[in-house]
Symmetry: none
Subunit: 138 residues, 4 copies
DNA sequence: GTGGTCTAGACCACT
DNA sequence: GTGGTCTAGACCACC
């Protein structure tokens, strides 16, 4: 699979996994209805505890990104949107504030960040629309 | 003052602080020999526990990025590395990709994120300019 | 504390706890800002594992009913509403369907259930408005 | 047919089924000697695994509520207890209190819940009446 | 064999 | 001493 864990990073393992799974789905590498690796598969592959994977999948299910079916597996949700406009704005604002903070510390102009954001966004969109040339864009 | 803690982020407070201080030094905004805020200043300003700040400074000193001088304060070490523009862009690109991922999952347009980014950036800038009585400019 | 776990019940321990904590808050026995028992307290008192309590508190935080502060404790949230209208309706409809199902099986008219619902609702509301006579209404 | 499974509920499928069958018998809707649906019927109708139904019937037989006759089917046991009106109200009151609790946390008026309750009740009734070709009336 | 609950206990982040 | 992450492993519900 596609996940890399950096245990040296202070970011919790489960948070790293969530970010990367979200990315994989956003990029179209995994599409609605697709089955994700089983809890045990991911756990053994990443040499982490199954409970950690379980937590990740639980959180993703809470966010409406995947749905679990006992005895069957975990699947990418059919595009269900869960958060309302207000919550979305709040979440996004948090993220943007963090990014703005980094711009300041790195001494990079926000317009450059905006360019990069747009570029990355369209990369993701393009790769999710074309099922074939995924590998180029990762 | 430029440090902003995002409690919504899963990243621990101390890690956020370290990253931001490192970046500020890496960008050249803080130069070798510059004095950092005292433990007490930072703690009261960010409304966090002094022990947390102490830990951050201890860790930074351990990494050779700052050096403590008893009774004087904490200073940026002489050997502190400054990243070039390319390195900084690479770091920023990672963050922008994460943000783009969130945009897709939240179903929000990138232009909205760009607006928010700009808004948050200027908010941060304004708040740092208006606090002229800060003892230093970290 | 106020929680009773029935291990004979097929309902998971964590679900029983959530229901009862929600009830305690809804009834006003616990008010916004009040501190809940610590993870370890609840765990030892109910002779269950701290992780189970942690899961309960985590879920409640997800639902916006409590907020956690590291090193301080867990507190009843200040009345934050998280779900949007659509999600609320969905959740409530599920609950009503379950209740309707029980009415049918028990051979009780829905109007009787409606009466009981109204009665219980006002009991909760009354007990949350009057801080003094709580014990009577439990 | 009267059994409805609510997958959103944390209560396991088999437990929901057992409760509903017990209640139907307790209310006198199903009387001693009445025949229950076959395992296969119930499984296909509720789109669940036959093993789950098998387990439910096995458990009910173990509790002495039904008796299996090879080649004939499953029947309500002669000694099955019928609850009086008061017992049934007590059960229902518990559920109504839970629903009232949810109303408060969701910030929804009880009258809205009452509407939904009525709506769901009639939906269930209609669906059970329209399925005349069901082999029995559980 | 799949996801999910629960236990037991180590270790970390923060006050 | 607080909540939170992670591990290790048993057992259950469901397919």
């Amino acid at each position: 699979m596609f996940i890399k864990i950096n245990t040296a990073d202070a970011t919790p393992v489960y948070a790293q996994m969530m970010q990367q799974i979200k990315y994989t789905i956003a990029s179209g590498t995994l599409k609605p209805g697709d089955r994700l690796p089983t809890v045990r598969e991911l756990a053994t592959q990443l040499t982490i505890n199954p409970n950690t994977v379980l937590k990740v999948y639980g959180e993703l299910e809470h966010e409406g990104i995947v749905t679990a079916h006992k005895g069957k597996g975990i699947f990418v949700a059919e595009g269900a949107r869960v958060l309302n406009q207000q919550d979305r704005e709040k979440l996004l604002t948090d993220r943007c504030r963090s990014l703005a903070t980094e711009c300041i510390h790195l001494g990079v102009s926000p317009s450059r960040a905006q360019e990069l954001l747009e570029k990355e966004y369209h990369k993701l969109k393009d790769s999710s629309n074309s099922s074939k040339s995924d590998s180029n864009n990762l």
